[in-house]
């Protein structure tokens, strides 16, 4: 708004009331789910780039591929991949929540709270299940 006067020469305006921002909101589960949806979305932007790196290393030949897989298999690599697994499943479940909202359903506060908890629980359970299967199949070794 700083350029209003310089730009249009409009009369000086009284500061307008601002909408409530983060610091005045009571923390709430639906708010956490909303923020997590964004955070996990950004996480999967990174995930898409990691997948790109995988494809490029595979095209680069056995040595490049072995090097990249070593990177992904390092403790830090595994931590990132586990985080991405949680992110994928949370964003997926919360995305379904959004699709249901688009249809006009599920806005009742109790329903919205419940589905937020379900999305979070699903993300953790599904990620742990996938990594348990990976361990059984010898993938995470």
């Amino acid at each position: 708004m700083a350029d209003v006067k310089a730009d249009g020469g409009a009369p000086a305006l009284r500061p307008k009331p601002l909408s409530p921002h983060l610091q005045v909101w009571r923390w709430h589960i639906t708010m956490a789910a909303s923020i997590l949806h964004r955070v996990t979305g950004v996480g999967m932007y990174v995930g898409a780039l990691i997948l790109t790196g995988w494809a490029v290393s595979l095209a680069g030949g056995p040595d490049a591929y072995a090097g990249y897989m070593n990177l992904l298999g390092s403790p830090l690599g595994k931590l990132v991949l586990f985080g991405l697994t949680v992110a994928v499943f949370f964003h997926m479940a919360n995305g379904v929540r959004h699709l249901v909202w688009d249809y006009g359903k599920g806005f009742q506060p109790k329903t919205a709270d419940f589905t937020a908890v379900v999305a979070m629980a699903f993300a953790v359970v599904a990620a742990v299940a996938v990594w348990a299967i990976a361990l059984i199949m010898g993938a995470a070794g």
Partner: protein
């Protein structure tokens, strides 16, 4: 702007300009790709589980299947499309300086399409290579 419209308030200037007219396309594209990704990502996670213990030969052999190569290119294309739209919203929400905003949006688009082409070409190179050779 300071010439003929100088006496107008910002609100009156904004009125009548209307929206950018392409919001619905963004909205529908985001959701259509979301529905596709629901299935593609489940397949992707399952495939990652199968591929992780196999090593180079196994992964390259896996990509020789046209179905695997096609699904992986679809996952990459849909994924980068969806991620580009999502990041665009985040940039538009938080970056308000005109130049920085334009450059961020441009970088987002370049990065997504650039990485997509790089990844897809890599997949196709492996998919079309004679097994045993790269």
């Amino acid at each position: 702007m300071s010439g003929k419209t100088g006496y107008r308030t910002p609100l009156s200037r904004a009125r009548g300009l209307g929206s950018a007219k392409d919001g619905v396309g963004h909205f529908i594209g985001q959701r259509a790709s979301a529905i596709a990704l629901l299935f593609l990502l489940l397949w992707g996670v399952w495939s990652a589980l199968k591929l992780a213990p196999l090593g180079y030969e196994g992964a390259a052999g896996w990509l020789h299947s046209p179905i695997h190569a096609a699904l992986l290119v679809l996952l990459l294309a849909t994924g980068f499309y969806h991620v580009r739209l999502g990041a665009q919203v985040i940039i538009e929400d938080y970056v308000h300086t005109p130049i920085t905003k334009t450059l961020s949006l441009l970088a987002n688009t370049f990065l997504c399409y650039g990485a997509l082409v790089l990844a897809a070409l890599s997949v196709l190179k492996v998919a079309f290579s004679v097994s045993g050779a790269v």
